[in-house]
Amino acid sequence: MKNLKMSGAAMLLMVVSLGFSQETAKMGHDHSKMDMSGMNMDEMQMALEFNDDNLANAYAHYVHIKTALVGSNSNEVNKEATMLAVSLKDVKGSEAAGFHVFGIESGADLKSQRIAFSSLSDEMAVLVAGNLKSGTIYKDFCPMALGGGAYWLSSEKEIKNPYLGSKMLTCGEMQEEIK
């Protein structure tokens, strides 16, 4: 517990030193609401609904990070990560997830962002499990990602791999359905 507190303090220190202003935090919040309504409209299958609005918000930002990684857009990944960090603050038990988001934010390039994203994905899977009111989240796996294989979450059945760029966009398979 003491270690956790210490790493929390270290995180805080680093976040502050990286210079995230309050303004970006506010922007992130407004943006999130906008995108949520957009996502619901796009839903084809049974609409994805969460027991917890904050978690729904966080998941929407997670999906944005994934989409940015699919497109290999490092700057976009960073922006979305900052927003996810804000929305995760209201989600219970999200400390580890928040830590991994910090890993994405502090990642200097796509490679390190993707490594942190895989940890975040594992953690998000734990967070969303049992908290869905309706709809399905797919847990996908690509054995070629990051050397030993990595997971990601998706609301669509179609495989869009966030780890390997445009050359290997469809590498991977669904491993689990989270309901």
């Binding site: 830590f99 940890s119 990051l146 050397g147 294989g149 491993q175």
Partner: protein, 150 residues
């Protein structure tokens, strides 16, 4: 107050300094023929359990998290992996004698049952690696079946 500042500065300097000390990485693309999955017919769901909850420290290939780049995290992990592999390396399981395999299977059973493995410090940051009751039963059933046939 001045003393506190000095102490803080020293801690900061040491922290910065140890970042330059390199560690060995436990990574390999090769899955040897002696790997547990190669020598035995492991059901998919049991394989997933082994891979998610055990292989990071008990094989030649670790999926390192992003924070492994920070010392002293690297050291601690290197120590755990070294110790883990010397106790049990699933990549080399096929090269163990039948007797050793049996004893390893028994150790896995008892350690999983007692919640000693996977390590608490590991599941703290890898919550997906934590074994659910169902997963424990699947694992135990398969190992018990192996123990009967060996």
């Amino acid at each position: 107050m001045k003393v506190l500042k000095i102490i803080l500065l020293v801690v900061l300097l040491v922290f910065a300094g140890i970042q330059f000390i390199p560690t060995n990485r436990n990574q390999s693309d090769i899955v040897p023929a002696t790997d547990l999955m190669e020598v035995y017919n492991v059901p998919k769901k049991v394989e997933v359990i082994f891979k998610t909850s055990c292989y990071d420290c008990h094989s030649n290939n670790t999926a390192y998290p992003w924070y492994n780049k920070i010392q002293p995290v690297s050291w601690i992990m290197q120590g755990h992996i070294k110790e883990g592999k010397s106790e049990l390396n699933f990549n080399e399981f096929g090269s163990y004698s039948e007797r050793r395999q049996k004893s390893k299977f028994k150790s896995i059973l008892s350690q999983v049952k007692d919640g000693e493995m996977p390590l608490a410090s590991y599941t703290l940051m890898h919550r997906e690696a934590k074994l659910s009751e169902n997963e424990k039963t699947d694992l135990e059933d398969w190992i018990n079946k192996m123990l009967e046939s060996l």
